[in-house]
Structures are given as C-alpha cells and as structure tokens.
Point group: D3
Chain length 251, copies 6
C-alpha cells in the first residue's frame, strides 16, 4: 500500500475542466490528485521565422509554476530574468510530444502556442501538462476549424503522459506524487499515443541504475495508466471532437 | 446604462474563495466580474538585507498575468527576461498599500510575500489584486499566529481598492471593465482603509485632463464602492479574524 | 518655519537655462533649489511599431540619475543591466503627462524623445523633470517647425508639476526637499495644465493614511505652486513660443 | 549499408587522447568519427550552497560548441547572453549521468566541474561528451587522490553513452552521424554502466512514434555499442586506474 | 590651418570647474572645447572582494554619455541592458591610468570610484575624462584626508591625457575634435605623468597604418599638449593640493 | 636568461596547423609556446545593417577562452550572461587589426567572422589570436575565391602581432609568457604589417610608467619578433596564397 492508500498501478483521481477561461481558443484546468495545471492553446496565423514558406504549422509550449504552487515559495523566473534548465527541458518536451500527433501540413502556416501554468504542484506536473495540453489543443483546433475549415481535422491520434518509478522499497509504481517522487530510485516519464506507440521515453536513475527487467515493469505500468487517461480526455472533449480524431487514427 | 447593464455606481459581482490552494499560508481566488486573480501570502522568517536588525517586518508583492489572461496572448516576462514597467508599477503599489495597515513592529523581522497572478483579465486587475491580497494576508497572519503568537494581531484596519473613471460620454463610473477602461478619458485607482481614509490615489488623464469638480465626483464614487468591498472581505475572512482586526482599528 | 527657512506654501528658487546643450533640438538645465536636471527633447521622424500608419505622433521619456547625484553613490542601471521599478514609474509618468498637452495628430508620425538626467538630487526630481521637459519639448518643436512647418503649433497648453506633502508635524507643505520628503507622512505629485486642470495626481501615504480634508489642503497647495512655475516656463521660452502656445489654449 | 559504409550495429572509430591539456586535473580530446570534444574535469574544494554541511560531494557539467563546430556558424551563447534550452538539457544530462557512478560520500565536500567543449560536430556530441567526461573525471580523481587520499576510490563503475535510432528506411542503427540523425524517425540516447544497467534512457519520436518491439531493438543495439566504448575507456585510463575502478564494482 | 582655425599643435580652450556638485567628495565639470564631462570621485571604505586583506586600495572608473551628448540620440546602455565594448574599454583605461599615480598602500583598503559622464561630446571624451578625473580624485582625497589623515598624500604625480592623430592630408595634429577624429587615418591617445613618462599609449590605424617616423611626430605632439594640461589642473586644484602632490613627485 | 631559458629577444616556438577543422572556410590551431588558440574564419554573404548598400565588406571577431584554458577554472561568459570588458577589448582589437590589411571594396558586401577560441593559455593569447586569425582568414578568402572569384585578392599585406614588456629587473623582453606577464612593469602589444608599419600599439604601465627611451627599446624588440612570425605564416599558407598576397603589397 502506498503513502496515500493507492495500489501500485493505480492513478490518482483525474478531473479535466474544459473551456476553463474565457479568452483562449482552448483551455482546461486539469487536476491529477492535488496537482493542478491550467493549460491553454492559442492559435496564431503565422509560423516562426525559420519555417516560413514551407506550408507547415508549428507547435510550441511554455511551462511555468506560480511561486506558491509548491511547499516553499519559488522565486519567479521573470524576477530572476532567466528561465531555468528544468523549465526549458519541460517546455521542449511538451511541444515535441504534441507535434507527434498533429498533421502539420494540414495545420498550415499557423503556430499553436501551448501554455501550461501549474497552480498547485504535487508531483507529475510535466505529465499532467501534456495530458491537459492535448485537450486544450483539440478544443482550440476544433473552434478554429469552425471559422476557417481545415481539409481534415489536424489531430491524428490521442496523446497522454504519466510517470512511473521504482520506490526505495524496489516497488514499481504508477503516477508518483511528490512524496514518492522525491525519494524514488528511478523516475520515468512516458508519453504514448492512442494506438499504443511511444512518443517519448525518459528514464533516469537518481544516483541509481535500473536493469533491463525493471525497465519492462516500468513500461507495463505506464501503459496501464495511459489507457485510463485517454478515457478522461475523451469525456472532456465530447463526442463531436472524439469522432473527428477517431476518423484520422491509424488502424 | 453601461455596456454590461450596470448602474453608474454599481460594482461587478465579487466572489472571494478563501484558502484556494493547499501550500500557501494564505490564499484566495478573487473574482471581480470576469477578472480573476489568485492571491497568495507567504511568510518568511527574515527581512531584506537593508532592514536587518531594526526589529520591523516587511511586505512585498509580485504581480503577473498568465499569457492568455487577455484577449491576445502576451509574451511571458520570464521569456523576455525582464519585468515590464507596468508590472513593476503595480507590484510596488500593492506592497505599499498593504504596508499602510500592518503594524510592522508587531510583525517583527518577517517578510510577507504577496503573489497576485491574474488568470483572467477584464479590467481592474490591480485593484482586485489589492482587495484579494488583503484577505490572503489576513488568513496567513492568522494561521501563523496560531503557531507563534504575536503580541497583538498585526493588521490594524481593512484595506480595499477599486477603480473609478470618466467615460467618453463624460459619465463618472465605478469599477470599469476592460471595454470601458480602454476608452475612458480619466482613470483613477483608489485604495482606502476601513476608517475611510486614503492610502493611495492615482488619477490619470489619458491624453485628457480633469477638473477639480470632476475629481470630487470620482472620489465619491470610489468611496461608495469600497464600502461594499469591505463587506465581502469580512465574509471571506470569517468572524474570528474580523474580530481580531476590529480590535486594532482606530475609532 | 521649514528646515530651509521657507514658508509652508513657498517654492524653492527656480532657474531654467534654455538651450543648455549644442546637439539636442531642445534642452534645458532646470534647478529647483539644489535639484538640477538636464532635460533634452529629440525629434525622430517615425513612431514606434505599434503606432505606424495611424498618422499620429508619440512622446516617450527616459529618466536617470548620475551615480553621485545623491548623498551616497548609486550603482548605475547600465551596470546592473536593468532599470529599477522607480525609474520605470517616473519615465512612464513623464511621457504620459506630456502627451496630455500635445496634439498628436498635428505632430504627425514623429516621436519626441525626452531625456531627463538628474545631475544633483535634493527631492522633487520627477516633478522638476516634468517642468523642465515641457520647456525642452516646446523649444524642440519650435525649432523643428522652423524647418518643416506644422499646420498649427502642436502644444495646446502649459504643463508643470510639483510635489506637496504632509510632514510629521501634520503641516501641509509645498515643494518638499529631500530632508522633508524622506520623513513625510504623505507625499503627493501633481501635474496640471495652464487652464487649471489635473493631468496626473499621485498621492501616497507612507505607512500612513490621509483624510478627505487633508487631500483638499494638498490640492490647494499644489495649485498655488504650479501657477508660479508657469511664469518661469514662459520666461524661459520667450515671447514667440509663448504666443504660439497661447493661440492653442482652450478659453 | 549506411551512408559512410558502416554496418547497422557498427560504431564510428573512437580515439581518446588523455591529458590533452596542461592545466586541468583531468582532460581528454575524444573523437567519435568526425565528432571531437575536449572534456576537462576540475576539482574544487567546496560544494554548492544548497549542499553544505552534508558531507557529500557534487558533480556538475557545462557543455558548449565552438561557433564553427558546425556546418554553418552558430551565434555564441555568451553573445546572446543566455544559454539555450538544448545546451541546458545536455549539461543536466551529463552531470546526472556521472553522479550515478560516483560515491558522493567518499568524494566528500568537493565539486567536480565537467566541461565539454565540442570543437567539431558530426552527430552524437552529447553521448561523446559523457563517454569522454567519464575518462577526464577518472583521471582527475586519480591525480587528486595522489595528493589527498580518499578512503576508497570514489568511482564505483564505468559509464559510457551512445545513440541509437531508426532511420527513414526503418532500419535500427547504432551511433548516428549528423546526416543520419537529422533525418531519423526515432532517436534514443542510452547511458549505461559497466555492469550492464541503465542510467538514462531518452527516446524521442521526431514527428513519429515507435512501438514496443522497435524499442527492444534499439536497446539491444545500444548495449552492443557501449560494451566497445568501455574497452576504449580502459585503454585510455591505463591499468592503475582501471584496477581502482574494478575494485569498487558490484559483482 | 584646421577646421576650427587652430594651429596643428594647439589645444582647444580648457576650463575646469572644481567642486561642481554638492554631494561627491570631489567633482569637476571639465570642458575641452565643446566636449564637456562631469567627473566625480567617491571614496568607499572597503575594497573589492578579490583585494581584501592586502592592505591596499583600489581605483575603478565608470564612463557614460547622456543620450543627447551626441549629434543623434544614442540608446541608453541601461535600456539595452548591457554596456558596450567601447564603454568598457574606456572605463578600464581611466581606472588603469589613475592607478599609476596613486600610492595604493598609503591609500589603504579604500576604493575610489570615478564617474565620468559626458554631457556634450565633440571628440576626445576619454582623454578629457582622464584629465578631469585626476582633478576630481585629488579634491576627494584632499577632503577625505582632512577627516582621516593619510601617512602621506596618496597621489604621487600629475596625470593628464590628450589625443593626437594624422589627418587625411597627412598632417599630425593635437587634440582632435569630432570632425577631425571621424576622418583621421591614425588616432592615438596618450596618458602621461608630470615627470614626462608614459602611462598609456594607444595608437590605432583606422583602415590605415603608420610608420616609425610618424609615430615619433605623434609622441612629440602629445607631449606639447599635456604640459599645458598640467597647468590647468594645478590652477583648478589650488596651491595647497599642488604642494602636497609636488612633495611626493620623483625628482 | 629568462624563466624558460630564452634570450631577451627570442620568441617561443611557433606552430601553425592549417585547415585544422572540417567545417570552417579557413581554420588553424596556432601554438605559441604553451598558448594554443583555434582560429576560424567564416564568410557570410551580407554585411551588418549599418553598412548595407555601401558595396564594402566587414570583418568582425569574437574571442573566448575555454573554462580550463587557465590554471584555475573561469566561469563561462555564457553562464554569466555577459561578456567581460577584457573579452570585448580583445575582440575589438582583432577585428580592427585585420581590417587594416583587407581591401574592403574588393571584398564586397560580405562579412568575415573570425573566431578565436583559446584552448590553453600561457600569456600572449590576444597576439597569438591575431597572428593565427590572419592565416585562417587568408585560407578562407582563398577557398572562397575558388568558387566566386574576386577582382583581385582582397588581402593587401601580411599582419602579425606580438607582445613586448619590461620585467621587474628592468629588462626589455619579447613574447612574454604568463609568468613574465603577470609581474611585468610594462606590457605592450604591437600589431604590424609586412611592410614594417604599425597598425596598433597598446602600451600600458601596470601601476608603473615608462620613459621615451624605454619605448624605443620595446618597439625595436617587437619588430624583431614580428619578422619571424611572417615566415611562419608564409609556411602555413603555402606558395599559392603567399604569391597572391605579395602581388597586392605596397613596394
């Protein structure tokens, strides 16, 4: 039994509150246990300089935490005047992951800006951000499509992420909260698509290592959890958008 | 009648959701119409370098907007690597205003960090921040006092803020929303205490000027609105804290 | 009697040295008692990006202090690599105030750059900057008009500023020097036009508050002082420019 | 057959030139094909602020490229005034990987600074950096031990890294050069220890995904290559240091 | 005859206005023709970190131009957030030059901060800064000595600087104004002491070169000019300080 | 006899390894004793903004040291977020020196980017950089000419640099190593062309001064050394390029 009473392969309760804000084209407030992230998607009718004229779209992400999202107050990155390495790593990951399930040619010369702002942190903020950002982006592209239609819906599959890890007692667990994460030997973030393929796999021994067999256990746990996340995403998106995505999925 | 159907001297609906977050010593989500701000108060057991050894406390504030708090996406200040003049002006204002109703000697060598993060903006974000930050600070000092008691409660009066202005049609109005604010001739922010005194008055003609008589009308409107805000703050704080503040107020 | 022997509502001696520098289109060295500021106005034949194509001009200001303008040496903002909140607040105020008395449509797509560099500080540097910058700008626009005429003179009224405050002994005084300002309970900066209207009003209790009646006393004191400043500005500008401004004033 | 004539699971030629520079405690010039990196290790007798008093050491890494390490000139990060997200990601990876095979308690309150400067880039610069940095660090700790002995040798196992990937033709290959890497569907960096365990696994689909079976193929390829790298590291370190490391390895 | 009517080896008119400002320990306004620089010297009772405990003093300089010191407005370095290479070069030169004629051991663990702010530029701003800064520093050390006496006067000789150059017509001239400087083939700044020795020599061909014989002509011209500058400095310092410096000069 | 056994006017051993890197148009690894610098030259088909449309080329240089080029590790300028004054001074010197021997009109609207990266430092890094950068630039312009011919070869003469100084024992020496340089009274960097003219002369007393006669000795020493450097450059460039340069030299 885990510190919060969960089973080894049990996710925390998930809530996805769609269209949480009035201004963005798409937005959600996602809660994964006590971790809460506001994810928004904004669509801009141009691409970065290095991509102009290629006829393809771009997806980029920014990630931040409120100063008191955490136990002790963090100094704002705007006050420090620079973005930390951790933040950069996370925002690069979010953007890269989402690009794997968007048909950038159908999107055309547009940029989707994803903003993930953690208002309360209890472990797994980067995976919650990906899971929530997927929904915000689908909402935004659907509402954009209502005004200026795409040749097809530009999202080609579902996308969700979770963390798995090996605790100090050598147990493999799914969806670590902060208390577990800060003491785990091995921590792995897994991003998968609806068809069961990997988009991103980042496994790290924290002053520790892991064997080939342990890796297989971690991958299995992640797959269990991500399947549940897809159900939550579908419920948050509603039938119309779900159908549009399903129509584009590889069989 | 105003663009959203309000009377000239009518506030928008106010909601103050106390203890909104799990980690901060005090926090609220304040809504003033569609403007929504998360205000947190954090207590640190030391003061900035320039105040050490004086036996007095300090209150400082930071203010930020999520990129999509607004109609079009704003570039994050952390990405730009510097804080804008507008942001600095607002955070200096919030800190200064709160210091006027805290007994810094009773507080002792502690810093209260106020963070105001606008998640949705529709005009009046700086005054909503002050009104909400007051509640978050009172909650934080009350919970801190439960652990390490103060000689007296360090808050000496209520504090709230609102905006007033003169529209293009020369009408004086209370609590401008964004549509009104962006076209107003004169914009004034007023911060007052529970005993009816001014803490801060910032009136600005926007490529326009205002007469002595117009000024009197603006001050009157502000007083009307702020009295209502105090009632909302008291409800959000509850009877115990309200009593503690009342015990310190000047008659 | 005040620390320097002045009456409550007496300004310090004012000197405005016109065309102080050889390169700028307009420049003054203004002294308000021991406070000395070099104000220059530069005219650029284009407007910032966000205003292009609107046919209107823009006025923007920068403010700085020499490191030894003050009692103890200040670190240069160029060495720190960023501009302080106080500086930003002041330069935004100067620009906003001047825009209130310029007909930006007559100006056309030009930017007036105002630079206020304090070479010696003894209180009231921001109000001295506004009073001096007005003269520098009028000189610059007059000399520019000599080359490329405007349809009318673009300045529509006089503009000057002063500070008023409430000292620790509860006396309301005009034009505080540094010794007074650093101990005042209330500090208010007032910017007015030649026709007696307000452009900007910024009143602040320094860990203190002020009543409605005290506010009226402060406003009265400011009006007394500003009338005298207009006389000094007219003398510094000379008859030709004074006439041009008078021809545009509202009766 | 690959673009440079190699077999699918064949590494490029490796050279490790030990003690390449006169000043650092440990240094190498490592070549992996045309990729060339100068790796140095510097030992400082203190740890970062957040670790003081714990009796443990720290390892931190910095990574950079010369402007013409690449086909077209890159702007220096010192000129841009900030370090890119890619650089931060790589230097965090190098430090984290090395910490997995150092006994930080035996090291004591010291910091090992690793600097990896790419002088010529042809793919695989981050994995070449890890492989080379391991040797530089072992040389540095050995020479430091000669002056102030450790209770045991602080390195507990070998550590090397390589990249594997899936090309556009669906072939799984080992040690991608730049031409291959820039077109690969999937790119994975693998860091392993001498006992065959994983330290870090970072697999990324580039606008693509990969299946569970493909993952197994990638892991197999990486293991093949890393075993060869250990032989090169042992040759570069010499018998004395090799023995010291062997004495600390888990059986 | 030169553009402004001077002889080849004739300086522009020099004025040194001592104790120009009220706050600094020493200050001057120096004019060399139309070039005007405010030089101040501030004494701080400690040295930079890297010099603590050596019992020696330090002298450091900062240099800046007002935005409209020049024909067209320059962007402030504080707005750009960084100091230009030209500025750094000049401030390093000023500090280094002054250190050559101060007995840093007699000075003791104090820092002399020199600030040179150009309010009007017409060529030769760096050499005018050195010549003026010498006077400001001597005034500051003399007034400091009045409070806390030194074992001897810490200044060991006079120090002044001028520029020499070769114009497009191959004439060697002394003290170039901006019109001359911007077209000169060769530009040389020379800093000398009262006993006729060199402290600093910086000769630069501007897309041109100069022969050994031309160099001798330049050195001769500089010596002519600097002798006159010493007379101006002595007049500005007055008899008392002049005697103190004379008592320390090498015969 | 000097600390490393050299005669007073003896250079350290020089090696210039041409075309050291695969990507740049021109590159060398130059060693002057233990000082080692990688110099590259990159040609870009446009000029900086301020030079567009003049039909002339531009040459600009950047200089950096690896963190462990020196005895103790230096913090990277990219980590500090700004370039030091020393670095700026050196890179401005390198660019200016090279521009003196390039016919910028023949070059046309192109920029030559010079990068000098010191991998090991033992004194004289700026003069080694100039000597090496000349060779890298000549290689680059020759290889560029092979593709798009110039009307003439754009290099008009040889260019090399060395340092000279006066040691504590009053001896004048050529090509100071770090041990000598750090204790020298006078340090002078001299840049000369193949026809024996000066391009740049920077002599500095380090808390010391130098006489006219000492200056003549320093200039003589520099001339001796630079003649030898030209021989090394010619050998590194080969006969073809040497001929092209010779054809453009002034007799």
């Amino acid at each position: 039994m885990r510190v919060d009473g969960r089973e080894q392969l049990q996710l925390r309760p998930i809530h996805i509150d769609s269209n949480y804000l009035m201004h963005p084209e798409g937005s959600v407030l996602i809660s994964v246990g006590n971790t809460k992230v506001i994810c928004t998607a904004s669509i801009e009718d141009r691409v970065p300089h290095f991509m102009r004229g290629e006829g393809k779209g771009w997806i980029t992400a920014e990630y931040s935490m409120l100063p008191r999202a955490t136990e002790t107050r963090n100094i704002r990155e705007s006050s420090k005047g620079k973005v930390s390495g951790r933040t950069m790593e996370i925002q690069r990951l979010i953007g890269r992951a989402l690009r794997a399930i968007v048909d950038l040619e159908v999107l055309g010369e547009k940029t989707v800006w994803i903003d993930c702002d953690v208002i309360q942190a209890d472990g797994g903020t980067r995976t919650a951000s990906i899971t929530g950002a997927f929904v915000a982006m689908a909402l935004a592209l659907n509402s954009y499509a209502a005004k200026k239609s795409f040749s097809k819906f530009p999202i080609t599959d579902y996308l969700a992420a979770t963390s798995v890890g090996i605790l100090q007692n050598n147990e493999t667990v799914l969806d670590l909260n902060y208390a577990e994460d800060s003491k785990a030997q091995v921590d792995m973030n897994v991003v998968m698509t609806g068809n069961g393929e990997f988009v991103e796999l980042q496994g790290t021994g924290e002053e520790a290592t892991f064997s080939y067999d342990q890796l297989q256990g971690l991958l299995h746990a992640a797959q269990e959890g991500i399947v549940e996340l897809f159900e939550q995403q579908k419920a948050a998106l509603g039938e119309e958008i779900t159908k549009k995505i399903d129509s584009r999925r590889k069989k």
